[in-house]
């Protein structure tokens, strides 16, 4: 890797100040950024570690709203969500491997917005709110495409607020090599309606499958999805699966998630 400055602030304000430098980069658990640096594919002037900020490690569970601090690791989130939001706990406990889960953070995952990551499906599928150092962003407004989010330069995810659904489940079909989601689907049933978020499949990153949501609003059962399919146009086609295969898998995996949730 190239040389860089390193800061580990203890407050959000200090972190924001530290990130004001040109080419400064926030560092969560480093599960994507550190390998990228090792390969010399990024050259930040400064890394600002967020893991020393107590506020970003906070967890709360109030009146059907689970709040997870931005620097909470996947393993910590899995433990915290086990009671209030088992589907989210299950998702968090199957990201990567134990090393990734003990280092990687929810804020880092959502800020990176890898198109095959699991957390974006949970956030979008839950209609979560992304709380930042500047504002609150609804999940529907937050995800903007491959590795693209509504975050601005120097903006830090301080917490993510998940409204707890009546029923939910996340299923993924793993890419054989990376074991990221070739397709992952988060399904959540709220009083206000069902949300279905698909990760891994689209060239635009995580997205909501509105037709499936409407069908499941009418009947929250796998059969409700009969006859529904996704257009292969816009899906990712690569070494591990064609666009058609991913579109097909998204429907299959949605069915699994509904069956498991119902």
């Amino acid at each position: 890797m190239y040389e860089f400055e390193f800061e580990k602030p203890s407050t959000v304000a200090e972190a924001v100040a530290a990130l004001a430098d040109e080419d400064a980069q926030a560092l969560g658990g480093g599960q994507t950024l550190i390998p990228t640096l090792k390969q010399r594919l990024a050259m930040p002037s400064k890394l600002v570690s967020l893991t020393g900020i107590a506020q970003l490690k906070e967890l709360s569970d109030n009146a059907g709203m689970l709040t997870i601090g931005g620097a909470v690791t996947h393993a910590e989130a899995a433990e915290a969500a086990a009671g209030p939001y088992p589907a989210l706990a299950d998702l968090a406990s199957h990201i990567g491997d134990p090393a990734v889960r003990n280092r990687g953070t929810i804020g880092g995952s959502l800020a990176n917005n890898d198109p095959a990551a699991c957390y974006p499906a949970a956030a979008l599928g839950s209609g979560a709110t992304i709380v930042t150092s500047r504002r609150e962003i609804t999940a529907d407004d937050y995800f903007r495409g491959l590795f693209e989010t509504a975050l601005e330069e120097g903006e830090i995810i301080t917490a993510v607020r998940f409204p707890v659904p009546q029923k939910a489940n996340y299923q993924k079909f793993e890419q054989p090599a990376s074991r990221f989601a070739l397709v992952g689907v988060f399904v959540a049933k709220y009083a206000a309606g069902v949300r279905v978020a698909v990760t891994g499949a689209s060239e635009e990153g995580v997205f909501r499958w509105r037709e499936a949501e409407a069908a499941l609003d009418a009947s929250f059962a796998p059969d409700a999805l009969d006859g529904l399919s996704l257009d292969a146009g816009g899906m990712i086609g690569d070494l591990h699966g064609t666009k058609e295969y991913r579109a097909h898998l998204a429907a299959v995996v949605t069915r699994w998630a509904v069956a498991a949730a119902a």
Binding site: R40, G241, Y245
Partner: protein
């Protein structure tokens, strides 16, 4: 009760204690005082002319010792190819120069373009980024069929085409072979791909070159399966150094699978640069470099045809293969698709006519060479797939069809030059049927169907030619090396023994199994025997480990040397007991005189050899150390039958291996536990090839699967618990231990069983799928089902 020592016992692997407790000594663990580090600037395009390289900025960067380009190696040789194949017209293979550093032209992504030696690795990397390259891109030649087209761009401008050789083996008479097909009652044809693989041993390659000015001596520490071979190739063909001034050490090596047989540019570079820089020079491959610089494996495209008569007897076999050589000829590359492949096309069957045609092709890809099995998996895969397809077309039982065509009398001369000394294919198939519980399959299939899954059963046989190899025979076939091996047994005064062996252990457990043999022969405790390997400064000139040869060839040398030791020790014992040496018997470490109660212990005799006070000095030299070289009379022929049972999820195409059974005939076995482990590992790699692994290039010659994010290595949960049996034993007839070798069997015998099982599953579900190319990824299986 099973023995706990000696031949046939399963003591735990003694070397594992150091491997598992962090006490191993791998090449990267070695650091030489004052060493510098090299970073190689590697090509990121597949094919280009190098107009100029400007290293002036890099040379002034902090810490830089020296910057090398191709021009620095103009006076040394290229990396040699160790096997010259003669083509069907009697002409030699086309053999391009293989430079240490690219010489005006870049021919594959990953090729070394320049090298920076600096005080630290980071400084070397920084400086490499300051090197300015002026390149003119050329069209990349990637697809083999396109490479052979008339108007194809050439990988090597100085060659006539991209064809390395066009080789025919077996029956050379095209008309006679065609006549056999014309008169057949049934012909089954199959076109298939044997997918390109990256070996990916856990330990990446490492090289450290040292030069001692005072004595003009070099030492190369390297991750090699065969240090003497590396020394010979590097000294005699590349650098022009006297062998006695060069020591090559391959200490603990973390897996090779063939990829560490070959002499690589980085080894020659570090040795050369050590003198040029006046410093030891160290290189440690990153995983990313390994993907684009370790020789790849397999990569064949084949059309195979099988002719049968009206009674389902195999009457002729014809196969046409294009085999990828990559951009240059790696050490044993040309032997793999020819003599290690064509000679195996008879398989376990008495097919009277076999014709093999192989065209080897240059492309702008990483060189391809031996990978676990090397040619034999490619032969077995196509043969066992076409037999399975024939059985399905004919409505015959795949096992019965095989049984009907088995070779049953030995020795058997095949139509493709080999003489199988021994085997019993009926017995291994009988054993397989039992171990695989074929009787219970119908019930298991019904259970899977209840769960919405398709269950399939696939079987295959294999034969391999191991114990490589009789030097005079391979010499006639083009080998530029002998393939004997060597061992020195050095007995110490107190009776302990060091055995210096030419074989190299990099996962095979030699440090455990070899002493079992020597200790058994003498009747002493195994803890009194160690082996020494992997150092040309210590061991006799041996040829290393590959081709399942270690116990069959080097083990035989060790037996011969131990026999010499015992013979001499008996003379000493006879002297001590005032008896005739013809009457001396050795058992349990005691020498006795037949028919008397006289005895002396092993330790008394060994002490006498080194303290020869009461000793027949006029007839016998003191000391107790013997060397033997052993050149095998024939290959060995391990064989077996494998069965795979899969479930396929029709919704996703995902294949799950539910059961895998292996019945092998390895002849006699030294350590059954180690043999189990070798088979398990081989099966894991075969299953990896069948379901997961794929080194895929795009049309520009970029490797798409260039990291573990895209190259799917098998993991523990991808494979089942295996049922492995090796109680069928027909001992090899021509080596002293009766052993055949077991290292590659699992990788050779498993891919066809997996694919046959998947086809069986899909057809049971009413799908008319007859073939899917490996790897049978979920996407490919789903596409085939819905195609």
């Amino acid at each position: 009760m099973p023995k706990d020592q000696g031949i046939g016992a399963s003591p735990k692997r003694r070397e594992d204690v150091r491997f598992l407790t962090g006490a191993g000594n791998y090449t990267d663990d070695i650091n030489v005082n004052g060493q510098a580090y090299v970073h190689f600037l590697r090509a990121d395009v597949a094919h280009a002319t190098i107009n100029s390289i400007d290293t002036s900025a890099a040379e002034t960067m902090p810490g830089v010792v020296k910057v090398f380009t191709g021009a620095d190696f103009a006076e040394v040789g290229g990396i040699p190819c160790g096997w010259g194949v003669t083509d069907r017209h009697g002409n030699p293979q086309q053999e391009p120069r293989h430079p240490i550093i690219a010489d005006g032209t870049i021919r594959h992504v990953g090729e070394i373009v320049a090298a920076v030696v600096a005080d630290t690795l980071e400084q070397a990397r920084d400086a490499a980024e300051a090197i300015e390259l002026d390149l003119s891109d050329k069209p990349a030649v990637v697809n083999m069929a396109a490479a052979l087209a008339e108007d194809a761009a050439k990988v090597h401008e100085d060659l006539t085409s991209n064809l390395c050789y066009d080789w025919v083996f077996g029956n050379p008479d095209d008309d006679a072979v065609q006549a056999a097909f014309d008169s057949a009652a049934h012909v089954t044809t199959l076109e298939l791909v044997n997918n390109r693989l990256v070996a990916n041993p856990m330990e990446p390659r490492v090289a450290i070159g040292e030069y001692t000015r005072g004595t003009d001596e070099y030492t190369l520490h390297t991750t090699s399966q065969n240090p003497h071979v590396i020394r010979l190739l590097m000294c005699a063909f590349v650098l022009g150094l006297p062998e006695h001034k060069v020591r090559v050490i391959a200490p603990d090596v973390g897996g090779g699978f063939g990829s560490k047989i070959f002499h690589y540019a980085e080894e020659a570079f570090c040795t050369f640069a050590a003198k040029a820089c006046g410093r030891a020079v160290k290189w440690t491959s990153t995983r990313a470099e390994a993907f684009i610089s370790d020789a790849h494996g397999r990569d064949h495209v084949t059309k195979i045809e099988l002719a049968l008569d009206a009674d389902n007897n195999f009457t002729a076999l014809r196969t046409n293969t294009m085999a990828n050589m990559g951009a240059y000829l790696s050490t044993f590359s040309t032997s793999v698709p020819s003599y290690l492949h064509g000679t195996l096309m008879a398989g376990n069957y008495k097919t009277p006519i076999v014709q093999v045609n192989v065209k080897t092709v240059f492309t702008n890809t990483v060189p391809v060479d031996a990978y676990r099995g090397a040619g034999r998996p490619e032969a077995t895969f196509q043969l066992e797939r076409v037999i399975d397809k024939a059985a399905r077309e004919l409505g015959a039982d795949p096992i019965a069809l095989r049984r009907q065509n088995f070779i049953t009398e030995f020795p058997y001369e095949t139509p493709v030059a080999l003489t199988y000394d021994t085997g019993d294919y009926v017995a291994t198939m009988d054993k397989l049927e039992e171990v695989a519980d074929i009787a219970g399959f119908a019930a298991r299939r019904a259970e899977s169907e209840k769960n919405g899954k398709l269950r399939g059963f696939g079987v295959n046989c294999y034969i391999e030619a191991c114990g490589i190899a009789p030097s005079n025979i391979v010499g006639m076939l083009g080998a530029r090396a002998g393939l004997y091996d060597a061992a020195t047994v050095r007995v110490n005064a107190t009776g302990t023994i060091s055995v210096f062996v030419g074989a190299h252990s990099h996962g095979q457990g030699h440090e455990t199994s070899f002493p079992q043999v020597v200790a058994d022969m003498i009747g002493i405790d195994e803890s009194m025997v160690d082996i020494v390997h992997g150092d040309t400064g210590r061991v006799p000139f041996g040829m290393g480990t590959y081709g399942s040869r270690s116990i069959a060839v080097c083990g035989s040398a060790m037996v011969r040397a131990t026999e010499k030791i015992i013979s001499k020790a008996k003379k000493i014992a006879a002297h001590l007991m005032e008896a005739s040496d013809a009457d001396i018997e050795l058992k349990d470490g005691q020498f006795t005189v037949a028919g008397t109660d006289k005895s002396v212990a092993w330790g008394d005799v060994t002490l006498t050899a080194y303290v020869p006070h009461n000793y027949p000095l006029e007839e016998l030299e003191p000391g107790l150390e013997e060397t033997a070289f052993y050149d095998p009379a024939n290959f060995t022929y391990p064989s077996g039958a494998y069965a795979c049972e899969v479930e396929v999820d029709p919704d996703t195409g995902k294949v799950t291996i539910e059961r895998f059974a292996a019945a092998d005939d390895f002849g006699n076995i030294i350590n059954p536990m180690i043999v189990d482990g070798q088979v398990h590992g081989g099966l894991g790699q075969g299953i990896g090839q069948a379901l997961l692994e794929n080194a895929a290039y795009d049309e520009d010659g970029q490797l798409l699967s260039a990291s573990f994010m895209d190259y799917a290595m098998p993991r523990a949960d991808d494979v089942p618990f295996y049922q492995v049996d090796h109680t069928c034993q027909t001992p090899c007839t021509h080596n002293p231990l009766g052993v055949k070798g077991c290292g590659e069997a699992g990788a050779i015998g498993s891919p066809p069983a997996v694919v046959n099982a998947v086809i069986d599953a899909l057809q049971s579900g009413g799908k008319s799928v007859t073939h899917i190319d490996m790897p049978l990824s979920p996407a490919r299986v789903w596409a085939a089902m819905n195609g």
